[in-house]
Symmetry: C2
Subunit: 241 residues, 2 copies
């Protein structure tokens, strides 16, 4: 199966959680927005979202085409892909558990995003700076430890150096991405917080060392974090709480 990923091209964003899974698995895929030629490029994404004949229209990217299926929402895409590319259990119970963890990742990522956009996505960060500062203070003091503490506890309870079962899953790749993103966005706060989450840090290192993932991270396919993505580095928001 050749998968087609539809996602914006200038940010890691939510699409990166899918890219990491496809890359680690060595799956055959086309990153539609970043290719050129007929049916490729950002225009292809826009055209798709305008196409009145699409039966199952996504609300927004990322979405994946797999044969005739069109699947949207990051966690849903990973839920579909996971067992097919060897990155999630096939049995229903553990598969739903992986999905449940990924949905908690989704919630966390939304809260990270809203630190710099507490009022509206349609406004620039510069238009909501006082609100962003207020929200971020409470995010760093309350939400960051709650989410990271939860994932650390899940890792410990599982006991195999990964979040689900005995082998690497897409949830572990998402843990890597969370730690990387948080380190980028909040270097001072993360430096202080990380000793409290040794399992997550070890998992981050383990994922980074996987040959496929390591090759991907060094490739031009891995975009850099930047000031348009989910994780943004605004030093004024990274005051130690």
């Amino acid at each position: 199966m050749r998968y087609e990923l539809y996602y914006w091209i200038h940010i890691q964003g939510r699409g990166e959680f899918v890219r990491l899974a496809l890359e680690e698995a060595g799956a055959e895929y086309v990153d539609i927005g970043r290719e050129s030629g007929p049916g490729m490029g950002v225009e292809a994404i826009r055209n798709f979202l305008q196409d009145q004949s699409i039966e199952h229209l996504p609300y927004a990217p990322p979405f994946l085409k797999a044969g005739k299926l069109v699947i949207a929402h990051t966690a849903n895409v990973l839920h579909f892909l996971g067992p097919r590319i060897g990155l999630a259990p096939k049995a229903e119970g553990p598969r739903l558990w992986a999905h449940q963890l990924q949905l908690t990742v989704t919630d966390f990522v939304k809260e990270v995003h809203d630190t710099h956009h507490p009022i509206a996505n349609s406004l620039y960060y510069e238009d909501q700076k006082p609100e962003a500062l207020r929200r971020t203070k409470l995010f760093l003091a309350e939400r960051l430890p709650k989410y990271l503490g939860y994932f650390e506890r899940v890792l410990k309870a599982n006991g195999h150096g990964c979040t689900v079962g005995r082998s690497l899953s897409y949830v572990d790749l998402s843990m890597f991405q969370l730690i990387e993103g948080l380190r980028y966005a909040f270097p001072r706060n993360m430096k202080r917080a990380e000793p409290g989450y040794p399992g997550l840090v070890a998992l981050r290192d383990k994922v980074a060392a996987r040959p496929s993932t390591a090759a991907y991270l060094k490739s031009p396919r891995r975009l850099a974090f930047n000031d348009k993505g989910l994780f943004r580095q605004y030093p004024e928001l990274d005051e130690l709480q």
Copy 2:
């Protein structure tokens, strides 16, 4: 199968999307928080979340116990339950499509919640009123029409008076709940907006008239909307945009 629903007892909240499905299906379930006796009541929920021996620990309610499985996240619970209680297709493609729509409901509900809590969940509304007003203005002007327009378009594209396939699904019950909640929270804005979404309004009426759901809505099991839930009525936030 006797399902056990774990959710807070004073609000409809996210648990209501699950309750509506269980009630419409006539499924056998226990609303653990609202029963008394051993292993029941709010204490039982708190104890569960503190229990170090739980293999698949939820991040937060609602969650469902189904035999040995513990499933958290509203959309994940509905994804699991749907085909089992006749409220979602069994085939993978349509089932993932229903789930995808429900995940868009999840995102929408989070944005509704953040109209009155744009800074932090841990603060009272009264402590974030200027920010709430600013966020709500943009929510009503930009987000409400985007989400409702999307669901209206999905309904039209499907063409059977429901969102998925040819029969009622849990997604339709969630559409009912969204319209009800929005009418409660933003009566003035909804009165003006609703003529633009005739499909959704007709679907809301159709769901309300289903015998099982109608009986549930009249029963004491249906909590009233109130000022602690997701949908809150603050008249100062309901200025026409």
